[in-house]
């Protein structure tokens, strides 16, 4: 694969592992020892912070581990710039979760085994089969942008050196950023 393909997969794998609470695997295999992790404008109370090194970052994730699947991060196609042995990527994300966490009526939740039967007998897409089950409601709980830095390690594989999680703030709008976005839009229009 190309460098950009490798890094794109690395970003996707990070979301995949973190959503499944396999933080140890991500930290052990895909970040450098001195990995830096910073969260800005997190809508959850006490969510902002800076963490340095594998142990500190892992402790941060473990503190919020729930043992249950509650939400999923969806990513845009990342914009990746590679410069020699270093790279940077910007990726927008949206966190989609159940709108309420009340237990479902008994029998309304399908299990893996149930859905395996569906995959064997129904159309392969398997998407409509799960839509609107038991009338669940979902919501976008957070959104923002990852700013990631990478380095190519001695074994040739890319690893995270830093991640900045920049949330869209839920509180009052931030004029400076809004103006930045408008400037970008204006610049984009001028280039079309």
């Amino acid at each position: 694969m190309t460098d950009i393909g490798d890094i794109r997969t690395l970003i996707a794998r990070c979301a995949h592992l973190c959503d499944r609470e396999r933080h140890e695997q991500w930290i052990d295999q895909f970040v450098i020892d001195d990995f830096a992790y910073q969260v800005v404008d997190d809508p959850s109370p006490g969510g902002d912070g800076s963490y340095q090194g594998r142990d500190e970052v892992l402790a941060y994730f473990r503190a919020a581990a729930s043992g249950d699947w509650r939400a999923t991060h969806f990513l845009s196609e990342p914009v990746i710039d590679v410069a020699g042995e270093r790279a940077h990527a910007a990726t927008d994300f949206a966190l989609v979760r159940l709108a309420d966490s009340q237990p479902a009526e008994a029998g309304s939740a399908r299990t893996t085994a149930d859905t395996a039967d569906i995959a064997d007998t129904a159309d392969i897409a398997g998407i409509a089969d799960t839509a609107g089950i038991a009338g669940q409601r979902y919501e976008v709980a957070a959104a923002g942008r990852y700013e990631d830095d990478f380095v190519r390690a001695a074994d040739g594989r890319w690893r995270f050196t830093a991640r900045l999680v920049n949330h869209l703030p839920l509180t009052a709008s931030q004029p400076a950023r809004a103006q930045d976005a408008q400037d970008l839009l204006a610049a984009g229009s001028a280039n079309e």
Binding site: M1, G5, R8, T9, I11, A12, R13, A15, H16, C18, D19, R20, E21, V39, Y60, A64, A65, S66, D68, W69, R70, A71, T72, H73, L75, L95, V96, R97, L98, D100, S101, P103, A104, E105, A106, S108, A109, R110, T111, T112, A113, T115, A116, I118, A119, I124, A125, G126, I127, D129, T130, A131, G132, I133, A134, Q136, R137, Y138, A141, G144
Partner: protein, 115 residues
């Protein structure tokens, strides 16, 4: 193209086809960047997806969130074919039975709100 790109293309085509076969398509399905692992003639892919539907009142609502766990097999020169798909919907924890904890045996692994 590489095997990985071929598998990703198959996954994307299926996602698009899911919307196309409806008479009046009032919903769109979004899929995450898949994590694909190719092992010779077999490929495994993990993809998360959600569906947005246009309601009669004009609102957009998310109607489902699902994890797709796929197994594909190499199909000669034509690329890859699905061998199995397991869709796992995101649902609230099942109501606990008498004497059982709520999370026991629900078959789903974890997820949190950290980015």
């Amino acid at each position: 193209m590489s095997d990985l790109q071929d598998v990703e293309t198959v996954l994307a085509r299926v996602a698009l086809a899911e919307g196309d076969h409806r008479g009046e398509c009032l919903q769109v399905h979004f899929q995450s960047i898949p994590v694909v692992e190719v092992d010779g003639p077999v490929a495994h892919a993990w993809t998360d997806g959600f569906t947005v539907r246009l309601e009669p009142a004009g609102d957009f609502v998310i109607t489902s969130v699902v994890r797709l766990e796929d197994e594909l097999i190499r199909a000669g020169a034509d690329g890859w074919a699905f061998a199995r798909r397991i869709p796992i919907p995101l649902l609230p924890p099942a109501a606990p039975q008498a004497g059982q904890p709520a999370t026991e045996g629900d078959g789903r692994d974890g997820g949190d709100h950290h980015e």
